[in-house]
């Protein structure tokens, strides 16, 4: 018994335990280390934890089948609380643990802070949720990929639809002065101006909750716009579309997922017919998505949280890329991410040159007979 209290005795004991656990794994196969970084505590934990669960689910399944390239996969989970200043610490810690690839981060600010560190260490990072457009479009981070559409994707889709499908020459852009609506409207404005194929005849913010929008509707009419792209939510959109139809205007309304809401159709009734709105692609019928959601329910006993499917797809893309690349080498893995398609709950995806997932994002919907119908 005296031996237990002895320092050297404890050291020997620890060494024995470590060597025992080490001998459980095959001696020559270093595991593939996947870092999972995001807010796992604090206010925004609900955004980060579903990604951890997605990673656990996919990796347990793969490990049961013998892992990737004959190696087991190991998860290294680190909390960044969504704060950029902590995200750099998180990143440094993961780098020092020799991770091969990162799932994360979750918040755009934290992701940006961490990306530079991963870039210097040649580690690819795939975020399931960071939507800031500049992360991919700036070209600063060739090691960055994401399985979610960027913030400007909706505006891009709206403008492309107006130009290519509806072939409009005059477009008005309105917004509700809010972060979400104005952000979208600003992207739409710059896309229209860049394209040079249509004229931006009106760009204005309206006051949400105002009793009457007849003046701005008259202005749309006077501008001769063929369509209004509206950035904002459904209460104002329904007021505007109702007023336009009552004033016998057939101006098309194109809006965003703030309007792609059943309440919009309920409130605007017959006036809602023909309105276009972008919304996230419907994946509820995807068999892999159904399977992933069921696996989550079975393992954790609850419905999955935010960005679960995006994270699930990201982990699948990571493992697929390592498998196809045949190693965890940075250049080979990033090349595989860009070239190899993988079946995920979000559909069949790969990444483009800038790192955005092709085949993920938004579709255009139109109200037909009181329902939103996806347009292909």
């Amino acid at each position: 018994m005296k031996c237990i209290m002895n320092k050297s005795c404890v050291t020997i004991f620890i060494i024995v335990v470590i060597s025992l656990t080490l001998s459980c794994t095959k001696p020559d196969s270093q595991p593939v280390k996947v870092g999972v970084a995001g807010p796992h505590s604090g206010d925004l934990a609900s955004y980060g934890l579903p990604s951890v669960k997605a990673a656990e689910l996919v990796i347990n399944e793969i490990n049961e089948k013998g892992g990737v390239l004959g190696k087991k996969i190991e998860l290294l989970i680190e909390d960044d609380v969504c704060k950029p200043e902590l995200a750099t610490n998180t990143a440094t810690k993961l780098v020092s643990q020799n991770v091969h690839i990162i799932l994360g981060h979750i918040c755009s600010g934290a992701t940006k802070a961490a990306l530079g560190i991963y870039k210097d260490s040649k580690i690819p990072a795939i975020s399931p949720s960071a939507t800031n457009p500049a992360l991919t479009q700036s070209g600063d981070y060739p090691n960055f990929f994401r399985t979610i559409a960027s913030d400007d994707a909706q505006a891009k889709l709206e403008v492309d639809f107006a130009l290519d499908v509806l072939k409009l020459k005059k477009i008005a852009v309105l917004h509700d002065k809010g972060d979400y609506g104005k952000g979208l409207a600003e992207f739409a404005k710059s896309f229209i101006e860049e394209s040079g194929r249509a004229e931006l005849v009106l760009y204005e913010g309206i006051t949400p909750g105002a009793v009457d929008y007849s003046a701005v509707v008259q202005k749309i009419k006077a501008s001769g716009a063929g369509a209004v792209i509206y950035g904002g939510y459904h209460p104002e959109a329904s007021k505007i579309v109702m007023l336009m139809r009552k004033k016998k205007m057939d101006t098309i309304l194109i809006s965003d997922d703030g309007v792609k809401d059943i309440t919009f159709i309920k409130v605007a009734g017959e006036y809602a017919e023909g309105v276009y709105a972008t919304g996230p692609k419907d994946v509820s019928m995807n068999p892999l998505a159904i399977k992933a959601n069921e696996a989550h329910k079975k393992t954790y006993g609850s419905d999955p949280g935010a960005f679960f499917l995006n994270a699930y797809a990201a982990v699948q893309a990571i493992l697929n890329a390592i498998e196809k690349a045949g190693s965890t080498d940075y250049d080979k893995v990033t090349k595989a991410l860009r070239t190899e398609y993988v079946e995920t709950p979000l559909g069949k995806i790969r990444f483009d040159e800038k790192g955005d997932a092709i085949g993920v994002g938004f579709s255009m919907f139109q109200v037909k007979n009181g329902k939103y119908v996806e347009i292909n």
Binding site: K177, E204, G205, I206, T207, G209, A210, V211, D212, S214, A215, V216, Q218, K219, A222, H234, P235, S238, K239, M242, K246, K247, K248, M249, T263, K266, V267, A268, G269
Partner: protein, 298 residues
Amino acid sequence: MEYFVQLLLGGLTRGSIYALIALGYTMVYGIIELINFAHGEIYMIGAFTALIVSSVLTLYGFNEFAILVLASLIAVIYSASYGFTVEKIAYKPLRSAPRLSPLISAIGMSIFLQNYVLLAQTSDFLPFPALIPEFNFLKNYEHVFSSSELVIVLTTVIVMTILTLLIKFTKIGKAMRATAQDKKMAMLVGINVNRIISVTFIIGSSLAAIGGILIASHIGQINFNIGFIAGIKAFTAAVLGGIGSIPGAVLGGFVLGWTESFATGYVSSDYEDVFAFALLVLILIFRPAGILSVKCEV
């Protein structure tokens, strides 16, 4: 020119909406010098009652006209009883308290009523049926001026006229003016001041309910929060026109409606509120008591 006329008519409708609500503010202020912040909520409750009643009546297959009359009648009675009760609960016990106390009580009442409707009904926007029928003679001008807009403008003018006549030429109007001038003196000459104040609240709330029905039917949707912005704008209109004055409230409403309409039409809707409130500041600098500042008219 057509554009100008459309903006003018749009501003007129918007102004009438403000004026209908502003009348209630101005009457109550005229009598007891209280800014009744719960007034916008009474307007919202009127609209909700009309929605519920008209939905039930539609279910029983009543015709359009019967629905309009019955829904309006019930909404007016219901809102009037709310106005009456609010005054009894929140303002009457504070009648001799410092002026700030009933003001805070009014804000409290406003928040209470909003949340009460939020909990009892829903936080969602609800579609409101077009209760006002489409007139045949306006068929060709509907894109310029619709039936509901015409009804709103006409109602505002008629209500203003009746109210002015009521105050100038009836016994109860005389009692109201007396109460407004000096409560204690009015009491001494045998006027039942409490009854007069109750009547004022009942009339004001009825007007708010009428406004609620017309406006909701024009816009086509309501939720628990519609009273807030409408109330703020109507209050601005009342101050602009000279609070306490009945024609002032209507004039204030029109001026505000036109300013917003033309600011949107010729400048940008981004600056709609900027212009409206800049005008308010300007008018208050030159006429501190509002455009039609009449002391003790009500």
